[in-house]
Every structure is written in C-alpha cells, then in structure tokens.
C-alpha cells in the first residue's frame, strides 16, 4: 500500500527506521495490554513512541514500520496519524510551542501571548525558526483553563503566561541549547 506516497505532506524516502532493542521490548509489553487478536489497539501509544524516538514526526517510512510491527495495513496507520492533532506530518522544531487559543484562555489574554511569541521568535503561527529550534502552533483547550493563558512546550505545561514569562522561557531554552530538554519518554510510561 503506497497510497500516500504522492500526498502533499507525505513522502516515502525509503529510509530504514528501527526502534532500539530496549524500545522494542517495551512495545512488546504494551501490546500485551490488549487481547491477543487486538494488537492494533497499541497504535496510539506506539505512534507516540515512534514520533518521539524516530525523528520527531511521522514520516511514511515510520508509519509503514509501525504498521509492520502491529501487523496491520499501512493505510490503517495513515488514517489514524492524520486524525489526531498531536501527530506531525512533517518535521517540527526541537521545541514545539503550542499556545492554547480556546475561549477561556482567550478571555485571559491568550491571544497576546501568541502575539508576543511571534514577535520574540520572529515567526508566525505554524512556522519554524530558521535554525530549527522552535515551531509555533496554536492548539485547542489544554485542560488547564484555571491557569490561563496556557501553552505547552513538547507536552510540558507552561501556565499563567505573561509577556515577561514568554521572554524568560525562550531565553532559557536558547541558553540551554546544548543540554537535553528533560523530556519523559513515551516508551517508559506504560
């Protein structure tokens, strides 16, 4: 099934992608959470792991690999990957900044936080900085409306944002560039 190869967003590069042995072991454990004939149930957790450990987005190669692991058709992976907003069809920056734009955040100044991020980073909503460090994106309610306005950087919450906080967060991330941003591994969560 090569259905998406010529899609605008999806290009098959025929790269060899493979999880580490350790990750494969963890995935085997996740598959056991579901009935033996329902391996496909592990698709969402495995896609999270794949996106995190195999390049930061879901390329066709990665999706095809996941399909083979779960013994399902590639198209079953494509249709799921395109449905859920946490899966990226193309590369994103090292830090993915997702600003909530839904009502409660907007009421508390969320729109200005986006404004300010655009100014500070010099990109517009949806863009990535030329050094590949930051991608800026708007998202819907993050379930954190009591501490609005809210954003996430690589699924970590940044709450009660102000213009000053925006500046200091970005400054810190730039300074820490050579260190690893402490991110939980999806593979270790289940």
């Amino acid at each position: 099934m090569d259905g998406l190869i010529n899609h605008r967003l999806y290009k098959k590069e025929n790269k060899i992608v493979r999880f580490s042995e350790e990750t494969l072991k963890r995935i085997a454990g996740i598959i056991l959470h579901y009935p033996a004939d329902r391996k496909k149930s592990a698709l969402l957790p495995v896609l999270h792991i794949a996106q995190q450990e195999l390049g930061g987005y879901l390329s066709v190669d990665v999706m095809d690999y996941v399909a083979s692991l779960l013994e399902i058709q590639p198209v079953e992976v494509y249709e799921v990957a395109t449905f859920y907003s946490m899966f990226h069809p193309e590369p994103v920056g090292k830090y993915l900044i997702e600003v909530c734009q839904t009502g409660p955040c907007a009421l508390c100044g969320g729109e200005h936080i986006l404004d300010h991020l655009e100014n500070v980073l010099g990109i517009t909503n949806g863009g990535t900085t030329s050094d590949g460090m930051f991608t800026l994106k708007t998202v819907e309610c993050l379930g954190s409306c009591g501490t609005a306005p809210v954003m996430q950087i690589n699924t970590e919450f940044y709450e009660s944002m102000t213009k000053e906080k925006v500046e200091s967060v970005i400054r810190e991330l730039k300074e820490k560039d050579n260190q690893q941003f402490q991110e939980t591994r999806w593979a270790e969560l289940f």
């Binding site: 969402l44 954190s144 409306c145």
Partner: protein, 455 residues
C-alpha cells in the same frame, strides 16, 4: 457547605504515594467492598446514592451499571474516561494529579461490582505527565496486592492499563473513545447498540468519567443513603467545579449540590468575585457545549428564584432561559468580554474538532465559523444573524453523536441572549474593525474600547 468527600486529603503532602494515601484512610472502601460486600451490594449502594455521571450528561450511574450485559460469556470491560477536553473543564486532571490512588480505588470497587477483570484509563495525550503519575500509582497498587491476581486473598483479579489519546476532543464521546482505544480514528458509533452490550471489542462495556469513579469510594465508605442525603433532589452528593475566566480565584472547587450560583461566584471561599471589580456579564456553567446565560438569568431563574448549582436548577427554564450543569466547567465573562468574539472562538473549536462523519455537523460548523468571523470583524450582514440561528437549528438533533448539539447550542444561545451585540457589530463596522484583541485572529490594532463595554 463545602464538604470535601473527594478532595478532603488533597493538600496532604505526599498523598500521591500509596503509603500516605493508605495512612489517611485510603483503600478502606476497597477492602470493605471486596471483603464484606457482594457485587450486588456495591451496585445497590451506588444506585441508592443517586450518583449521576460527572462527565457531562449526568446519567444515573447505578442505572448505567444495571444495563451491563452480564449474561454473556465474553469479557466485560470498564473504561475510565480521562480525556477531559471540554473547554473550561480541568477537574479530572486536578483529581488525577493529586489523588491518583482515589481513582484506582474507585476502579477496583467498580470493577468488582461489574465483574470486570481489565480496565483501561483513556487519558488525553496532552496530559502526558498525568500518565506518569497514574503509572507510578498503579505500580504501587500492584505491589500492595490491590491489583493483580487474587487481590487481598479474595480471589478477585484485576488489571488496569493506561491508554493515551493523541489530541482529539471527540474522543471524549464514549463510543469515539472506544474506537480510539481499538486503534482507530475517533469516529463516534451509531447507537444502539449501546456499549453496555457492544462496547470495547464488541464486548459489554461501561464507560465512566474519572470523577464518577472516584465518587464511588466515599459512597461505599459512608453508604449510599448518607451520600444521597447531601445535595438537593436528584442532584446528590458533591461535585467538582472547575472555575475559570474573569474571576479572582480560578480553580477547582468541591461543592455540595445546591449551592446558590451567586454564592459560588462571589464568596471568598470559591471564585471570589469578578476580577478587577468589574461586573458579571455572562456565564457558561458546564463547559463550552452548554448554553451561555446572561448574568441576570444565571443568578436567578425567570421564576425569580435563586439559581442553584444542581442539574435541575441549571436546566430550569429549558433552553429559553436555562442552561445545563454539564461537566462543571464554569466559565465566567466580565462586562468587557465580547460575546460575538467568544461565539466565534467556540465555533472555531467545534469546526476544528468535528470528526467529519455527519454532514450537518461537518458542514454546519464550517459554515457558521466564517459567518461569525465576518460579523466579529465588522463585515457581517444583518440577515446573517438569522442564518446562523437556522444553521444551528438544522445541526441540532440531526447528527450521530451529541457533538452536533454541542456545536449548535453556544451559537443559538449567544444570539438568543446577546442579539443586540451581534447587531452592534453589524451596524458599527467602523468601531468594530478597530479593536485590539491580539493576533490570533489577525486584525488591526488600536486602543478603541470594545463595544461590549459600551453597552
């Protein structure tokens, strides 16, 4: 007022850990249920308690459990809905973050009552750190033999598995959630068959909200009758309300059902009044999907009675003058908030989140959103207000799942109660065009005040 059945111990340092939770009366209800009661006893207490689903619909939990098909040989499943994506709602996150063991205890008791051996907790993917917290708590519960085989020597076995979402509001709808758990797109199923007969993997399934399952713990602890004695009428017990918007003290509050809305908004114990001393303009009391009410109708019903925080009182007056308690996502708007802009914002949300299966929902939201945008930007035409009303009416009731209604109600209710504001936008484009809101919706910046505050 202000009894804390769920959140009593939430501020105790370390309560997230098994030992501390246990030392403060944790797992006592689970022991009681498993050792001293039968499954039927537990179901009876839950029915007697009058507990209603806390996920939004308010369906009686005991009744839902009684529908579960127990005749079949196939496995039965309990699925905990921790997708929490309804704008304005953040109570389940609060509960899971601080009291993961309360949810696990609730799942143990409920699984015992339902004859379930495998539970899934479906947590929205953005709550990745919550998955970590729950994982740790589940591991602890296994270590202490509250999960696994032959729990506490009672012969009962139970596994709890965590499953992540990946950013789709619709997966909170129970059948979409089941599809998602099966590794598919979150497309809601046509009902019937209901999950009680054909749910996860076509097996009998109960889907309950996090708060509902947590409430089973105090119900078993105190007895169904004692729980039912709290509250008013068919709204029994306590409810977590997540309050946000233009208030002094946003946060999650556990209230007894029956608290007057006015007390909730203005007392220091809860929201602490409107921010910056402003006036209350409107409230969406149950998450973005329920109708918005203007201040007057929010505080008092048309009959002139105080409106209370109960399912019944919120609904008093029907959709003409009432609303719904929903998920308890209490969004407060002050006098400066623009109802047109907010309606547009909510409609952007529904347009983005529609799963796209039904034409009325998919096309209707995609039709209303640009109209609302035009009106908000001062480019609307007066006949478009009625057009919006008519589109909303055609979505409502004509879709596979209640998402369609949820997309229609905010628009219909905003126009019902704030029609003058929509008309203002259409009649005064020169003022509307020059208001500063920031750039999410990109348009010119100036210092002119918003018409909402000129009212």
């Amino acid at each position: 007022m202000g009894r804390a059945l769920l959140t009593e111990n939430i501020l105790i340092p370390g309560i997230r850990d098994f030992d501390v939770y246990r030392a403060h009366g944790g797992y006592v209800s689970a022991e009681k249920a498993l050792k001293e009661m039968t499954a039927a006893d537990v179901c009876r207490e839950v029915t007697k308690s009058g507990l209603r689903g806390r996920g939004g619909a308010g369906f009686p939990t005991g009744l839902k459990w009684s529908f579960l098909d127990r005749k079949t040989e196939r496995p039965r499943y309990l699925v905990c809905n921790a997708d929490e994506s309804e704008p304005g709602t953040f109570k389940d996150r609060y509960l899971m973050e601080h009291l993961p063991h309360l949810l696990i205890e609730g799942l143990i008791i409920s699984s015992f009552a339902l004859g379930v051996r495998s539970c899934y907790i479906y947590v929205r993917g953005e709550f990745k750190y919550i998955i970590g917290i729950l994982k740790r708590a589940i591991d602890e519960a296994y270590q202490h033999n509250f999960l696994g085989n032959n729990i506490l020597g009672t012969g009962l076995s139970l596994d709890i598995f965590l499953h992540p979402g990946a950013g789709a509001y619709i997966c909170g709808e129970e059948t979409a959630l089941l599809e998602s758990l099966e590794g598919k797109r979150g497309n809601p199923r046509i009902k019937p068959p209901f999950p009680a007969f054909k749910g996860l993997y076509d097996c009998p399934t109960v889907v309950n909200n996090v708060e509902t399952l947590a409430a089973v713990v105090p119900i078993i602890g105190m007895g169904g009758d004692a729980y039912a004695a709290i509250g008013v009428g068919k709204s029994t017990g306590t409810k977590l309300i997540s309050a946000c918007g233009n208030i002094n003290k946003p946060g999650v509050y556990e209230i007894d059902f029956g608290l007057p809305v006015e007390d909730f908004i203005y007392s220091e114990q809860y929201c602490g009044g409107i921010r910056d001393g402003k006036m209350l303009k409107a409230v969406v009391p149950g998450g973005s999907s329920v109708p918005v009410l203007p201040a007057g109708l929010m505080l008092n019903t048309v009959k002139g009675e105080q409106r209370l925080m109960t399912y019944e009182s919120m609904a008093e007056g029907g959709f003409e003058t009432g609303t719904m308690l929903g998920s308890g996502g209490f969004i407060v708007f002050d006098e400066d908030a623009c109802m047109v802009r907010n309606t547009w914002n909510f409609t952007c949300f529904y347009r983005h989140e529609s799963c796209g299966q039904c034409s009325p929902c998919r096309e209707g939201t995609a039709w209303m959103e640009p109209i609302l945008k035009r009106i908000e930007l001062g480019e609307g035409k007066s006949k478009e207000i009625d057009l919006l009303v008519s589109i909303a009416a055609k979505i409502e009731g004509n879709t596979i799942c209640p998402f369609g209604d949820a997309a229609a109600w905010p628009v219909a209710s905003a126009i019902r109660h704030f029609r003058d504001e929509f008309e203002f936008h259409i009649d005064h484009p020169e003022i509307v065009k020059n208001i500063e809101h920031g750039s999410i919706y990109k348009y010119p910046v100036s210092s002119i005040q918003h018409p909402a505050s000129l009212r």
